[in-house]
């Protein structure tokens, strides 16, 4: 029954400990709502037809005023309705308290929203971007902040959501039932790329979670690390060795680079990587720079140092949150794109800017 209703109502899987209970109230509320609306409309429609004026019948004069609605009927209707609504409220409020108050001893993870990505900091010192790693079967408390505007952290499969408000800390918690992956959406409008501010929660078995944490510990940052990611993150632990370029692609998409940079020359928020390596780009501070390994690495760690002219200073620093192996793989990826020509109509490498009055313009490429 639960599963049937869940599917009819298009609700996502019930992946957290509170989901099924909240869905129970959901079914009750939605069914009463639907029945109520349909019943009122049917009765109204029936009266419209039942008491329809016959053609040509003369209007007026003989009509009696309607007998007034008996007082007790009115009272019953109001009390009945109120009873239903207050029931919703009582159950809803209790569930809300449960949703809001994290159990003692929950694992605490810090979450920072930033246009347009989620950053996660774990108490053991690890970091991740856009992918939140949590153990299954253990309450996790998120402590949310925002670096710029209001964002809202939403995991539909868990039925939880909380705004991240600049200048404040807010909290939320959940307990994932079993290993798996679940979408994260930002649900508070936060600018041009609001709808791409997505991420995922990767729920690991407690043992895998421990391994993941260890893998991320600073003293073990070795080139081989990437392949040691827990099995659930499948894409990172290939059965056979994969090329650096492929690893770079995986890292770039996991870390959110591809949210702003494209690989095929198409326009986006950041400069495309196609044909970038080995070119000379104009700088916002004036002058130009030759794109080599050093510039790419610098841009990853300190994006504002040499800003490509015509782009907004929106890129976050990955210093401390990207492993050396990952940055190396991304450099390899960019190198491999040196000769990629943009697709027809894709525009030249170069970029778009959002001018102060909000229009989007293409900045022409400066040829060396």
């Amino acid at each position: 029954m639960n599963e049937l209703l869940r599917r009819i109502l298009f609700l996502p899987p019930q992946a957290s400990t509170v989901a099924a209970e909240i869905d129970g109230l959901h079914y009750f509320v939605i069914i009463v709502t639907m029945l109520g609306a349909v019943a009122v409309t049917l009765v109204g429609g029936y009266f419209l037809i039942r008491y329809r004026r016959r053609f040509g019948r003369i209007v007026g004069t003989h009509r009696k005023p309607p007998s007034p609605i008996p007082f007790w009927t009115e009272v019953m209707v109001v009390v009945g309705l109120f009873g239903i609504f207050i029931t919703w409220w009582v159950i809803g409020f209790r569930q809300y308290m449960r949703l809001r108050v994290a159990p003692e001893g929950a694992l605490e993870i810090y979450v920072t929203g930033k246009q347009w990505m989620w950053k996660f900091a774990y108490p053991e010192g690890a970091n991740s971007i856009s992918t939140l790693y949590v153990p299954a079967g253990r309450p996790v408390k998120l402590i949310l902040a925002s670096r710029d505007v209001i964002h809202s952290f939403f995991v539909p499969d868990f039925r939880v959501k909380q705004d991240a408000v600049p200048g404040r800390l807010t909290t939320m918690w959940f307990e994932a039932k079993e290993p798996g992956r679940h979408d994260i959406y930002c649900t508070e409008y936060c600018g041009v790329s609001h709808s791409t501010m997505r991420g995922e929660v990767v729920v690991l078995s407690p043992a895998d979670y421990e391994r993941w944490l260890r893998g991320a510990a600073p003293e073990q940052q070795l080139a081989g690390q990437v392949a040691e990611r827990p099995a659930i993150v499948g894409r990172y632990s290939p059965a056979e060795p994969i090329s650096m370029v492929r690893q770079g692609e995986i890292a770039a998409s996991q870390l959110g680079c591809l949210r702003c940079h494209s690989l095929d020359g198409s326009q986006h928020l950041g400069p495309t990587w196609a044909g970038m390596y080995g070119s000379t780009v104009p700088l916002a501070q004036g002058g130009t720079v030759f794109v080599d390994e050093a510039y790419i690495t610098e841009s990853i760690m300190d994006p504002m140092a040499k800003l490509h002219a015509g782009f907004q200073p929106i890129m976050p620093s990955y210093f401390g949150s990207m492993r050396p192996a990952e940055s190396a793989a991304i450099v390899e990826l960019i190198k491999s794109l040196r000769d990629v020509r943009p697709p027809p109509g894709g525009g030249l490498p170069g970029g778009i800017v959002i001018t102060p009055n909000g229009t989007i313009e293409q900045v022409p490429e400066v040829k060396p």
Binding site: L9, F10, P12, V29, I30, V32, T33, M34, G36, A37, V38, V40, T41, G44, F47, L48, Y51, R52, R57, V59, G60, T61, H62, R63, P65, P66, E74, V78, L81, W88, W89, G92, F93, Q95, Y96, D148, V149, I150, F154, D157, K161, D163, V165, P166, G167, R168, T170, Y185, C186, T187, E188, Y189, G191, V192, S193, H194, S195, I354, N357, G358
Partner: protein, 544 residues
């Protein structure tokens, strides 16, 4: 007695004077109503075009026809146009302006010049808003949440000023209605003889007077934060972004009743007239309008359950929200009870009433559903909420607007529209509507957030349904408009009271003469005395 209605010995208000000047400088409430009519329909169409572009963009998961920035500016403009340039002024400024004085047996509103001024202030606000749009628009959504709005590179300041000016216009209109209702009632027209329309418009006006200044000031403060870095709301300068949400919703929650109470006003009249009955409970309908106006001020917090308010605040706001629905339910049951045993003309306005019933009840009950805290956590800022308020505001207010447009058409223009086409377009509007917004409830359940330019592919087919519905709805509305415009020119002559209504606006000729009545009426009955013959009724509502 003149069978053409009181006032027929003079030329009607449209022909009383001629020339562009006689329109632009008129102080006649009926002409001002028509100017508002033209303006709000224009903005309805503009907002509708934005809506269709938005929906078309959402046909595919990624880019379909416009880029992200354009999309974001367009949903803001769609919201701002629909809310402030269409929904809020629509029924009060057009039909309220036209029929309220007629219903009171008055020659005009209490302050005819302020009435004209309010039209021009409205036009000015529209111009400022449209200028802001040309200057790059705003991409904040109609809610202008800080700090996004105080940092956005777009023309937020202009937009805020435009809406501020718009608020001035609605305050002027509201003030006029309140004073008119208090002072210009015909002799014998006691409060309990007022048409239900007047009660609801009166309630609306009260909300406008109390709530709009708060919005105006908040938006000015946002503009100041944006332009001057004042730091009221912007945390970079020590401001509090959640304070803005409290102020915004302190206005905007009552504002949603500013948008829907006038629909109740229309529906009450339509139901009584076409079923030839007095309301099943006059007091219930009249007082529940005031109840809504009052309680609507204490529920704003339910928009912020996940914004970081304390659990107890959330509990209180959730509980208080449950009361609002009761008043609406009382109205709904009373309307339906009124039909029972009536002599019902199955006409276009009545068909719109039937759609209104479904859309409003479903929209309203989903409102109670989203006021249920734990459920709202999942739904907040998602498509479920989008569907909820479109059900009420488009489904409720727009169907009522259309009902009014058809119902008072003969009163305003003296012509009859084609009933068959009217019924047909009404069906198209309803089907289009349901296809547009029912899938959005499911999208919301599935987790799709609102204000999304692109979405994961598994949301696609529901979006396609919704877009298809939107086009059908658009087509239905255009056809309804064409039907009325055609009737304007080729419609049959209507006679003073084609629906056999007892309400007071029908005792004068249709269309009315410039000063509404030849002699000031003296009213000795209620507007719903259907036990009287039309002659008797008329005799009891005019000076002998």
């Amino acid at each position: 007695m003149d069978p053409r209605g009181v006032g027929a010995t003079h030329p009607d208000y449209m022909r009383a004077e001629s020339g562009v000047r006689s329109w632009l400088l008129t102080k006649d409430h009926k002409r001002i109503a028509l100017m508002f009519y033209g303006a709000v329909i224009t903005f309805l169409m503009l907002g509708g075009i934005f809506a269709l572009i938005l929906r078309t963009e959402l046909l595919t998961p990624e880019t379909t026809i416009i880029d992200p920035m354009t999309y974001n500016q367009m949903f803001t403009l769609h919201g701002v146009t629909m809310v402030w340039l269409f929904l809020i002024p629509s029924i009060p400024a057009v039909f309220g302006n036209f029929v309220l004085p007629l219903m009171l047996g008055a020659k005009d509103l209490a302050f005819p010049r302020i009435n004209l001024a309010s039209f021009y202030v409205y036009v000015a606000s529209a111009i400022i808003i449209l200028t802001a749009m040309v200057l790059g628009g705003a991409d904040t959504g109609w809610t202008f949440y800080v700090p996004y709005s105080s940092t956005s590179p777009t023309a937020v300041t202009w937009m805020g000023i435009g809406i501020f000016v718009n608020g001035v216009s609605s305050i002027m209109t509201a003030l006029n209605f309140v004073v008119t209702t208090h002072t210009l009632r015909a002799q014998g027209l006691r409060w309990h003889r007022l048409p239900l329309f007047v009660w609801a418009i009166y309630g609306t006006s009260i909300i406008i007077l109390f709530a709009t200044p708060v919005l105006g000031l908040s938006l000015l403060l946002v503009a100041a934060d944006h332009g001057l870095g004042l730091g009221i709301f912007d945390p970079r300068y020590g401001g509090d972004p959640v304070l803005f949400q409290h102020l915004f919703w302190f206005y905007s929650h009552p504002a949603v009743y500013i948008m829907i109470l006038p629909s109740f006003a229309v529906i009450s009249e339509v139901v009584c007239t076409f079923s030839q009955r007095p309301p099943a409970s006059y007091r219930a309908i009249a007082y529940s309008s005031l109840g809504i106006a009052f309680i609507g001020f204490f529920t704003w917090g339910h928009h912020m359950f996940v914004a970081g308010m304390s659990e107890w605040d959330a509990g209180v706001f959730g509980g208080l929200s449950m009361f609002v629905a009761i008043f609406s339910a009382i109205k709904v049951f009373t309307w339906v009870a009124t039909l029972r045993g009536g002599s019902i003309a199955f006409s276009t306005p009545m068909l719109y009433f039937l759609w209104f019933l479904f859309l409003f009840v479903f929209g309203g009950m989903t409102g109670v559903a989203v006021a249920t805290q734990s459920l709202d956590v999942h739904w907040h800022d998602g498509y479920f909420v989008v569907a909820h308020f479109h059900f009420i505001m488009v489904g409720g207010a727009l169907t009522a607007f259309l009902a009014a447009a058809h119902y008072w058409f003969p009163k305003m223009f003296g012509k009859l529209y084609d009933e068959r086409v009217g019924l047909l377009t009404s069906v198209a509007v309803f089907i289009g509507f349901v296809f547009t917004f029912l899938p959005q409830f499911l999208l919301g359940n599935a987790g799709m957030p609102r204000r999304y330019y692109s979405y994961p592919p598994h949301f696609q087919w529901l979006n396609v349904l919704s877009t298809g519905g939107a086009w059908l709805l658009g087509a239905g509305l255009i056809l309804a408009l064409i039907n009325l415009v055609v009737a304007l020119k080729w419609g049959r002559r209507a006679g003073p009271n084609p629906w056999g209504s007892r309400s007071f606006e029908w005792i004068t000729s249709s269309p009315p003469s410039k000063h509404n009545f030849d002699v000031t009426p003296i009213i000795e009955r209620t507007p719903y005395d259907y036990h009287l013959s039309e002659e008797d009724a008329r005799a009891r509502s005019r000076a002998s």
